[in-house]
Amino acid sequence: MTERVKPDIGAFSYREVDRDILATLGRPGKLYMALLAVCLLCVAIGAVSWVYLVLKGMGVTGLNNPVGWGLLITTFVFWVGIGHAGTLISAILYLLRVSWRTAIFRAAEASTIFAVATAGLFPLIHLGRLWVMYYIMPYPSGRELWPNFRSPLVWDVLAISTYLTVSAVFFFVGLVPDIAAVRDRTPPGIRKTLLKFLSLGWMGSGRQWKHYMAAYVFFAGLATPLVISVHSVVSWDFAMSIVPGWHTTIFAPYFVAGAILSGLAMVLTIVIPLRKAFRVEHIIRMYHLESMAKLLLFTSLIVGYAYGVEFFTAWYSGNVFEKAIFTYRPTGDYALPFWTMVICNTIVPLLFFIRKIRTNLITLFIISILVNIGMWFERYNIIVTSLSHEFLPHSWGVYRISLTEYGILIGSFGWFFLLFLSFIKILPAISVAEVKESMGFPPRKGGHA
């Protein structure tokens, strides 16, 4: 199953690449429909759970004193994290001129947007009374009340909405030349008219490309600090408090690395079946997957470093509360989530040091799923254990996830994959223009256009 092919797509012509990528938009098969049905079912479970929660109130969750943030906030942080690989691959690797991004960045970007869109639901669900959610927006109201900008929760609203907006713009701008390519291959009809409209009249003219290329660099340049700030701000939701296990300086870089780790794992989970189903193994190659695996290993090492430093400092500092929480995590009520997190995030990825494992589709896929699970538990571990075990023993307590919360969790996965599945049949999940660019200009050796 191991394949070692150099990143040489030069054996193909533009025409073939165009054909193969656009073929992914063809009539969906049975498997696709089945997956879609499963997703819809999950969404339905989630919707029913949410409606139940709204009707009955927050009492139907496991939240109570002292644990006021549980599965919903955990899942929020999880999905925001998933949304980080897309911008990393599309913006940071673009600025660093890393060649392997071209084949996968579109799928990664799409997963970013859908993940952030999923994440955004959770604070609203967690509100309980979501119809008052507009209170958090800064607008001049009759009550003369403004959001408190000194609160990290308000930063979060700004950061996430900025992130969603900017990634959507970046994504759409990147899509325009590809929509034009689809448009030109589509026979006249309603679909073509619609595509004409969406492609903004793109012709690949000199003027268009000139400003497009300039703008693209700036989008990438703006998205890079943004992506780092988003998960930093999420980490500050916790680190700005004085809760032991939350209030620590390493949180921002540690969360960013963790976000990228989980995002890469999710992109791998998505891309491995995708390339097989769409028969684009010659475009998304083992080389691309291996490069992602290496990056995943690197971020996993950073996350492991952060785990280690936190434990070391708790021991070194002599602060009894720090020491208490870091003893509680591996040995207390939540030992299972803790060890799941440690094993999945820091030990299992070490296998990627072995080339055979990181170039094998099955092991890649399994490890990527394990990391996804591990990263969900990391957030659970951070959020819930700290609240369960704050300063004074009389205020300790254990949180149990309720059935309603599980329903919403399932619904969020259904929602994310539903969006993704719809996307890959409407627009090309691989960038036509950039794959062509990465091939070099024609005529090339072996090309038979």
Binding site: I228, I242, P253
Partner: protein, 439 residues
């Protein structure tokens, strides 16, 4: 240009010779350093001399290890840019012996200046064990030795890969440590096999270099700087220290490549567009460094816990102490100034402007390290005004200049024994073949 022609072109300018002017400047810098040390030990506040040595030590160790780390990062990422800078960065290994000497001197003689050394009985938690003198000494020297030996192993294969790419006769013109060290026993061997073997070893060593660097320098940051105030702790401190090293090293790399552009014959390989790439990288490191600074500061500001905040207030707010001026200057120098200037293309492409910005960056990192070390070591008690700081600060600054002088002299000696470009590196050749070998 074929691969062979390119190799000949690199070697045509002969062994690296920075020129007399450079050597003289370095000697002058060393003299200033000696004067600075003298000032610290004989004219400054209590422990001013040891403060200067410790500041020089943490910076020299950082630069020595980061040079090789930068090369390892390029290997790890298969980055296409920056290849022409690899060798120059590697030569900064010359700072390692300097750091080691300073460390031995400090551990052997300066340990009494450590604030916690006298009343270790007050230490609680793990600190009571961690900060026991013998253990501490062992860790500091051990961490430096570990980091340096891994770096030198990497350096060996990196240089040997080049020598293996060079035909036998051409090697003869070179002498020096690096040549004797990594260019041995090549005659009669199949050079291409040897080159590939070295490349394979580099692939294995690069991640090891990075991991060992992260661990040892986290420990050094904790031991040499953070533990000076044994009550204070910050989980990010290790990372904050080593990212600062990388930033300062990148800035030093920019300066050296600009100043020695002509004497080292870099003109054919480093064009303004490459310089602009390096400046972009410098900008990126400036931002990451700022991000780490901010993550640390913000968390402490919000938490407002006495054991954390006191450390920051003493350095940034306390009007009865002289430190805040240095703190804010440092912030301007490592963040505001380079951030604004490096936005401009003109600065990034101009050698003169870029070297000015780089000097400011390095002085910013110097001040950051100084402000972490000096308040704990120097016996300056409140109320004290800024003038109490003149002599100790001048001592530390001059000592650092001297450390730079020694380090760069040794680095240039190291560079003499190897080609100034990584001629055994396939990516180096690929990049220059694609760019059409300008001029």
């Amino acid at each position: 240009m074929t691969r062979d022609e390119r190799i000949r072109k690199v070697l045509a300018s002969g062994p690296a010779d920075p020129g007399k002017g450079f050597v003289l400047t370095m000697v002058l810098m060393i003299a200033l350093g000696a004067a600075g040390l003298g000032l610290g030990f004989f004219a400054g506040a209590a422990n001013a001399g040891w403060t200067s040595i410790l500041t020089g030590l943490v910076l020299a160790a950082g630069i020595g290890a980061s040079g090789v780390l930068i090369s390892a990062i390029f290997t790890l990422t298969n980055a296409r840019f920056g290849r022409a800078y690899v060798r120059l960065a590697e030569s900064f290994a010359g700072f390692m012996p300097v750091a080691l000497v300073l460390a031995i001197v400090f551990v052997a003689l300066g340990g009494t200046s450590l604030p916690w050394a006298h009343d270790a009985g007050h230490l609680t938690g793990g600190k009571a064990v961690w900060l026991r003198r013998g253990f501490w000494d062992l860790r500091v020297i051990g961490a430096l030795l570990l980091s340096f030996s891994v770096s030198i192993a990497y350096l060996y294969y990196s240089i040997r890969r080049d020598w293996a790419a060079i035909p036998g006769k051409l090697r003869e013109t070179y002498s020096g440590i690096a040549r004797a060290f990594a260019g041995r026993n090549l005659d009669g061997k199949d050079q291409e096999t040897e080159r590939m073997r070295c490349a394979g070893r580099l692939d294995v060593l690069a991640p090891i270099v990075a991991m060992v660097y992260a661990i040892t320098f986290t420990m050094l940051g904790f031991d040499l700087i953070m533990a000076l105030d044994p009550l204070w702790y910050s989980t990010l401190f290790g990372a904050w220290y080593f990212i600062g090293n990388l930033f300062a090293t990148m800035a030093l790399l920019a300066i050296v490549s600009i100043v020695l552009h002509r004497p080292l014959g870099l003109g054919a390989w480093i064009t303004p567009s490459h310089r602009s790439d390096l400046a972009t990288l410098l900008f990126a490191f400036c931002l990451v460094n700022a991000d780490f600074f901010w993550s640390q500061y913000l968390t402490i500001w919000y938490g407002n816990l006495p054991e954390e905040t006191g450390y920051v207030m003493k350095r940034t707010l306390d009007g009865d102490l002289p430190w805040r001026v240095v703190s804010w200057l440092s912030l301007v120098a490592f963040l505001a100034f380079p951030f604004i200037l490096l936005l401009f293309r003109r600065v990034k492409r101009s050698g003169f402007l870029l070297s000015i910005v780089s000097i400011v960056c390095i002085s910013g990192i110097f001040m950051a390290r100084y402000i972490e070390i000096a308040p704990e070591l120097l016996g300056i008690a409140a109320p004290a005004r800024l003038d109490a700081l003149y002599v100790p600060f001048a001592s530390a600054l001059l000592t650092f200049i001297g450390v730079l002088g020694v380090g760069l002299l040794v680095s240039m000696r190291v560079l003499r024994g190897m080609p100034v470009m990584p001629v055994g590196d396939d990516i180096f050749h690929a990049v220059h073949a694609d760019e059409g070998d300008h001029s």
